[in-house]
Symmetry: C2
Subunit: 189 residues, 2 copies
DNA sequence: CTGTAATTTCAGAAAATACTGAAAATTCAG
DNA sequence: CTGAATTTTCAGTATTTTCTGAAATTACAG
């Protein structure tokens, strides 16, 4: 990356490139996205090429990937041939998209695979045990997914307030404890 | 995988191998762990070698990796040279470990990188903007981390009850809404 | 101790992934 | 339409990651 970026911005981009590569997103795509997030102005493909010092075609493929994740917005400028790309202005929107996409691509297929494997009657002890574990996994993944879906409903304003509440996050979960304590009321509904 | 496993168990192992590779865990390590999770009896290295049809040395490295993630328990049998490996019996324990380790390895370093980059005063407009985004990222990641830490406090029994509550998960978050609506009470505490 | 059963290490091979440049395709101002 | 500006595609190359077999190390039953 032999380029025009300030060291501060460069460090951040490098870090997220690294992180991306640990999460199944390739390094360069991670860097590209970090660049877009940190840039006020929408960037065109050549801007990215210059900033990161990678080939034009690589940028093209990376943008395609980011589009497929629905992580970038595309802007036409009147009387301009080029397209400009930008990331959502709100980091929570970005996170929600990431969670959502990740769910579609990994969680849903996993749940469906597990369900399919749970249909058959076990042929022996080993299978019976394995199925039990699969059932537990399915249950757990479904539960965690439900939770994150609830949280995803929040808009960033609500999330902001929640943040201000600080440690009273614990309070919210205390409520839950109360629910857990006497959950009889639920069944009468 | 030309081996002794039943098709059902094999499918599950293959699926989690695939998933692992999308999450920065290599395919074989993912398969190895799936095998351990699905097996009632602890397995020795050669069992794994046979079941997955990979080299003994690969198994050794994979187990080392799984140990470093603290995902496997090791058992000595009296009068036996070999070691036997197993996964925790409770899937929620497994998930908690995964979350925990992931946090240590990726989230914490990211937060610390961001904090470091936020110390310096911005040299120009671009940096000022970038820092603002970094601040938002830091805030969001910290918030989400706090939440997951709260959830991690639950033991599997509590989680089980929570699951039984089904859709009333939404209720818990309604509580939160009430908090958000009038959070004046908080400040008087 | 000793010998053997087991594990770990590691250099190099194999496989998978990422990247590039050149060529093809697309888009739109004129 | 035309053609210049821009983007996309893709075959080949480079890089990274994973896997293996052989050798070195370790652990312990006897």
């Amino acid at each position: 990356m032999p380029e025009n970026l300030t060291p501060m911005i460069q460090s951040c981009i490098l870090h997220f490139g690294e992180m991306g590569s640990r999460w199944g997103i390739n390094r360069t795509v991670g860097q590209m996205y970090a660049l877009l997030v940190l840039s006020k102005e929408p960037q065109c493909a050549d801007d990215i090429t210059d900033a990161l010092g990678i080939s034009r075609s690589n940028v093209s493929m990376g943008l395609k990937e980011l589009m497929s994740w629905d992580l970038v917005k595309l802007q036409h400028r009147p009387g301009e041939r080029r397209e400009f790309y930008s990331a959502p202005g709100d980091v929570w929107d970005i996170a929600k998209t990431l969670i959502e996409q990740r769910r579609k691509r990994e969680i849903d297929p996993t749940l469906s695979t597990l369900r399919n494997l749970l249909i058959d009657t076990p042929a022996n002890d080993a299978e019976a045990y394995a199925q039990q574990r699969m059932r537990e996994m399915h249950e757990l993944i479904e539960l965690l997914t439900l939770w994150t879906q609830e949280i995803q409903r929040l808009d960033s304003a609500q999330l902001g307030k929640l943040l201000k509440l600080g440690s009273s996050i614990g309070k919210v979960l205390d409520m839950k404890d109360r629910l857990l304590g006497s959950n009889k009321k639920e069944s009468t509904k």
